[in-house]
């Protein structure tokens, strides 16, 4: 994916005029139009600089997969991928994500075909209420890419940023194991 380097379109000018003309522009504190690439689609949205990526997705773009649990970086329900890395949407400012592709749980499936991690969550009953599940899925997808699914202890440690109030942890680990083993088998069969 190409990395967009253009600056946000800034309605406000640098505060202190009259200084050297090369100062970088200042956006906000009012709304600014920014462009986000979410699940492969480029979308423009007007947000204040203080708006989190989570709120921009949920409240402005209608992408409600990422959930707001604690809004302070403690629960992991808002986990999304930015440039392929799992991060917390609640502690990320939307304006910092210009030109950095964002993937949410909505971007995992291929049309009607669920992602293997989603299939495994269903097969292993890896949730009860489901509120944390979008974040769990994003972390599980990332964890498998990171190669941190060696054994149950490792899975538990590297999934620890995703809290499940229903305590579906054993089944979440089972789902991760299943995908891990299926992938290993696939590779072995080459």
């Amino acid at each position: 994916m190409t990395r967009q380097t253009s600056r946000p379109r800034l309605p406000s000018q640098a505060r202190r005029e009259g200084r050297e003309g090369t100062r970088p522009p200042e956006a906000g504190p009012g709304e600014v139009e920014i462009a986000l690439t979410v699940n492969g689609t480029r979308r423009t949205v007007r947000v204040e600089p203080r708006v989190s990526l989570l709120d921009a997705l949920r409240e402005r773009l209608g992408v409600t997969g990422p959930k707001k649990g604690c809004d302070q970086g403690a629960c992991g329900a808002c986990t999304v991928l930015v440039e392929g890395r799992r991060v917390l949407g609640c502690l990320t400012l939307a304006i910092t994500c210009e030109g950095r592709p964002v993937t949410t749980v909505e971007g995992l499936a291929d049309g009607d075909r669920l992602h293997p991690v989603q299939e495994a969550f269903i097969a292993n009953d890896a949730f009860q209420c489901g509120y944390c599940t979008p974040g769990q899925l994003m972390s599980a997808v990332a964890l498998l890419e990171e190669g941190r699914a060696g054994d149950d202890a490792e899975i538990a440690e590297w999934m620890s940023g995703n809290i499940c109030r229903c305590a579906a942890y054993p089944n979440i680990r089972a789902a991760v194991r299943q995908v891990r083993d299926a992938r290993a088998e696939g590779e072995g069969g080459r």
């Binding site: 970088p24 956006a27 504190p29 917390l88 502690l91 940023g161």
Partner: protein, 332 residues
């Protein structure tokens, strides 16, 4: 959440200029502390200056056998770096035992050094807190202080320093490189964290607008068998109640070199000098470790709810020393 404005910069000189020239501007790196504190009203910048595009995120081997960690290097990338893992397992382990994978993907090394305390009275905008509102008092001293510090405290603040990585960097005697309006300078980690004393609001000898461009970790051959041990209420994703970073070299059955950092028990990443002095030359055995640990904690000042931390820190130190000695002998 208070509104603020936003400026993106792409070179260190501009970043420093933009923040140094405006007392109400703040750097924004990973945001894991800054965005959180702005949201709860404890940090109140007029504007954030986004420094994530600055070219100071590399992790480089230094010619002298050390490593240079860019100020914007992410915790996860530093922890995963093969050179860091081989030469400084204490640092890799400390990093991986902090926060969560998501937070470590976001948080930077420079930000880790500048992170604020997790004291609930600091985070609660109404409570007395000399760190947040100088002169208002310290609600923790007579309050819920189970998690607070027993070393390096003052009558004005007992908040514990939350970093794991900085504890390892203290034992490794790393050096923080700063860039400010007047140029560059270096501050040894041992001088980088200020005990609260009479001015708990001042946590670092860093001027407004000074930027952490790198952290230099010097060559420490004995660190290849170094250990980081963290004890906490939960097995994962929790701050330390006590932690120990240990670099130990054993020669002919005696301790030849010892460097110990303590976390979770002090107001700064704590260098256990007294324990180190007791260890060097002593037999590399449990009795020496216990004596050294007791000696370090002798000056602890427990409060109503955290007296347990004295013994916990001693035991954490002893166990980390035993583990480090076993590793060192395994290599030797």
């Amino acid at each position: 959440m208070r509104p603020f404005s936003y400026t993106r910069v792409s070179d260190p000189a501009t970043a420093v200029e933009e923040v140094a020239s405006d007392p109400d501007s703040a750097f924004l790196a990973g945001g894991t502390t800054e965005v959180d504190l702005i949201r709860i009203g404890v940090a109140r910048p007029r504007r954030v200056v986004d420094i994530n595009a600055l070219p100071v995120s590399r992790i480089e081997e230094a010619p002298d056998g050390g490593v240079r960690l860019g100020g914007l290097a992410r915790m996860s990338d530093v922890a995963a770096h093969p050179v860091v893992r081989e030469r400084y397992p204490v640092l890799a382990r400390a990093l991986e035992s902090g926060a969560s994978p998501q937070l470590r993907n976001m948080a930077t090394m420079g930000g880790n050094m500048m992170q604020r305390v997790r004291c609930s009275y600091f985070r609660d905008g109404d409570a007395a807190c000399n760190k947040r509102a100088p002169g208002s008092g310290c609600a923790a001293i007579g309050g819920v202080n189970r998690g607070h510090a027993v070393l390096g405290t003052s009558e004005h603040c007992i908040a514990v320093h939350p970093s794991d990585a900085a504890v390892a960097l203290t034992a490794l005697e790393a050096v923080v490189r700063l860039r400010g309006p007047d140029g560059e300078r270096s501050v040894p980690v041992g001088d980088f964290f200020l005990p609260p004393g009479d001015t708990p609001e001042r946590e670092h000898p860093v001027e407004h607008g000074e930027l952490i461009t790198a952290i230099d970790v010097p060559p420490v051959p004995a660190a290849r068998t170094s250990v980081y041990l963290k004890v906490r209420d939960r097995e994962s994703y929790e701050f330390a109640l006590a932690s120990a970073a240990v670099v130990l070299r054993v020669q002919d059955g005696a301790v030849a070199e010892a460097r110990i950092g303590l976390g979770g028990v002090a107001t700064t990443p704590w260098r256990a000098h007294r324990a180190e002095e007791a260890l060097v030359g002593a037999p590399a055995e449990g009795a020496s470790y216990e004596l050294a640990a007791v000696r370090e904690m002798r000056e602890a000042v427990p409060r109503s709810m955290n007296a347990y931390k004295v013994e916990l820190a001693e035991r954490t130190m002893v166990r980390a020393l035993r583990t480090a000695a076993a590793r060192a002998e395994g290599v030797g």
